[in-house]
């Protein structure tokens, strides 16, 4: 995944600022996402991470600045970048296959076609046994997998993930990390990832942007040949952790 350093920039946030009323939430943010890269946004609560996601997804329009996707200005346009929220947001009144097919329903695809595609996707991840079930019948980890598959069915190109694993227990979380890394390898999806969890950020990311005071304070590159849970046990990992925590804390003083 380190080979992605020289690959093409597919998503770019240029000089973006946004505030409600008088209060500025993010100011002059610049970041880029390269093809097949996973980039984390790490920062304390209220550092504007979710606001930035809403801007990239086109749900909010920035006061200043632009969002560029594959050379095209998509500022304030929704329906292009896929966005997965903290909660799994599976609709309780739809079956799993319908939930996965939801983005296709919205793209006005024929219901039968959409369901076929959803089922293919579920089968690929060995979750087809759940197709006819309702979200309530699934565990938290399963529901989050379904939500991520739905995000992928919307767009395999770029994903925004807002703390997708934060509500899960530690064991499920480890499983989900492996599962998601596999999924990413399969589809070469470029991802921007919001998290509070330093370990998670180091484990999954190619680069980490550290946010504070409404802007990006530092960017840290994670270079490793191992990309699974064993990475956490190395000295390399601890060194990264020290420097990340150092950066986070320097913002609080």
């Amino acid at each position: 995944m380190n080979s992605s350093q020289n690959s093409e920039v597919i998503l770019e946030v240029r000089n973006v600022s946004f505030g409600y009323d008088e209060r500025e939430i993010i100011s002059n943010i610049n970041l880029e996402l390269r093809d097949n890269e996973l980039v984390s946004l790490l920062g304390v609560s209220g550092s504007g991470k979710s606001t930035l996601f809403n801007i990239i997804a086109g749900l909010l329009k920035p006061d200043v600045g632009k969002v560029i996707y594959r050379g095209e200005d998509i500022t304030g346009k929704s329906g292009i970048i896929s966005y997965s929220f903290q909660k799994d947001l599976l609709l309780p009144y739809m079956t799993i296959e319908e939930n996965v097919a939801l983005p296709l329903f919205i793209k006005k695809q024929k219901k039968s076609n959409a369901l076929v595609k959803a089922n293919e996707m579920l089968k690929e991840f060995k979750l087809d046994a759940y197709a006819k079930k309702y979200p309530k019948e699934l565990s938290g980890g399963m529901r989050q997998r379904i939500a991520l598959i739905r995000t992928h069915l919307f767009s395999k190109d770029v994903s925004l993930l807002d703390e997708p694993f934060s509500a899960l227990d530690a064991i499920t979380k480890d499983e989900m990390h492996d599962w998601y890394m596999n999924m990413r390898r399969k589809y070469n999806t470029s991802t921007i990832f919001i998290t509070h969890d330093v370990d998670e950020a180091i484990l999954l990311s190619d680069r980490i942007y550290i946010l504070g005071d409404g802007g990006i304070k530092t960017e840290i590159k994670i270079e490793t040949s191992v990309r699974d849970n064993s990475f956490k046990l190395t000295k390399e990992f601890l060194d990264y952790k020290k420097s990340v925590i150092g950066c986070l804390e320097s913002g609080n003083t």
Binding site: N54, A57, G58, L59, S78, G79, I80, I81, S82, Y83, F85, K87, L89, L91, P92, Y93, M94, L102, P103, F105, I106, K107, K133, Y134, K136, E137, F154
Partner: protein, 254 residues
């Protein structure tokens, strides 16, 4: 199973109550011109059964027509007031205040304006049934999860998609709760409007037997009205089970 066992208590009490009532009447503790015995009521029910059914059908027709129009109007109002905030600001307070006007007070007016036929009765039922639906469904719309709406918007959903995939289905529980209220109102509204004039219906029958001081028949018709309301409520429950299969599954999995 637990529910079934629990129902022994009210049923047992009901039987006991009827037995005591029957005894008090048989022993002439309560004079029969004031209060008929349960047996007399059953006799009145069976004796007048075909006549009661004749009137029942008319009341049922009224209730169903009125309820259908009331529900459709209620849904339409809720949709419009949710979609256009100016309509909400204008009409919401008016609708709330309009509910303080007692039904019985406007019923005679409706009879004067529209006569003794079906129309005034339907209008009255519509007036009493649309309100719970409007308020219930509107509340459902307003309490939808903002994140779910954002999720759909991020997928490029239109306003129509948001109603179709989120607001309408997630308000169904509230809609059925409101429909239960409206269904029982529709029967009561029908009977009240029939008291004030008409040629057919349980309310008309009730007025006639009251004038004849036929207490047993009065009780008989009250029982029929209760049964009708109960059956309507059961029908609503059934409709809800069919339309919301995900709730059913949840109960089973618990």
């Amino acid at each position: 199973m637990k529910n079934k066992r629990d129902s022994i208590y009210p049923i047992g009490f009901g039987i006991l109550f009827l037995l005591i009532w029957q005894m008090l009447c048989s022993l002439q503790v309560i004079p029969s011109y004031l209060m008929p015995s349960p047996m007399q009521i059953v006799r009145a029910l069976t004796g007048d059964f075909s006549l009661l059914m004749y009137h029942l059908l008319y009341t049922l027709l009224e209730s169903m027509l009125g309820l259908t129009v009331g529900v459709m109007l209620g849904l339409l109002f809720a949709l419009l007031m949710d979609r256009f905030s100016k309509l909400y600001k204008t009409f919401y307070p008016i609708i709330i205040i309009s509910q303080t006007i007692p039904t019985i007070a406007i019923a005679p007016l409706l009879v004067l304006w529209f006569g003794y036929d079906l129309l005034p009765k339907i209008i009255l039922i519509v007036l009493v049934t649309f309100f719970p639906i409007t308020i219930g469904v509107l509340e459902g719309f307003k309490s939808t999860d903002k994140d779910e709406i954002n999720l759909l918007k991020s997928m490029g959903a239109s306003e129509f998609d948001i109603y179709k995939f989120i607001k309408l289905p997630s308000s169904m529980g509230k809609f059925f709760a409101a429909l239960r209220i409206s269904a029982s109102y529709s029967v009561v509204g029908g009977v009240i409007s029939e008291w004030l004039g008409g040629f057919r219906g349980l309310g008309v029958y009730m007025t006639r037997v009251r004038k004849a001081y036929a207490f047993d028949k009065m009780f008989a018709v009250i029982i029929i009205i209760s049964i009708l309301s109960l059956l309507l409520l059961k029908a609503v429950d059934l409709l809800q089970k069919i339309s919301m299969p995900w709730e059913e599954k949840h109960e089973k999995s618990n």
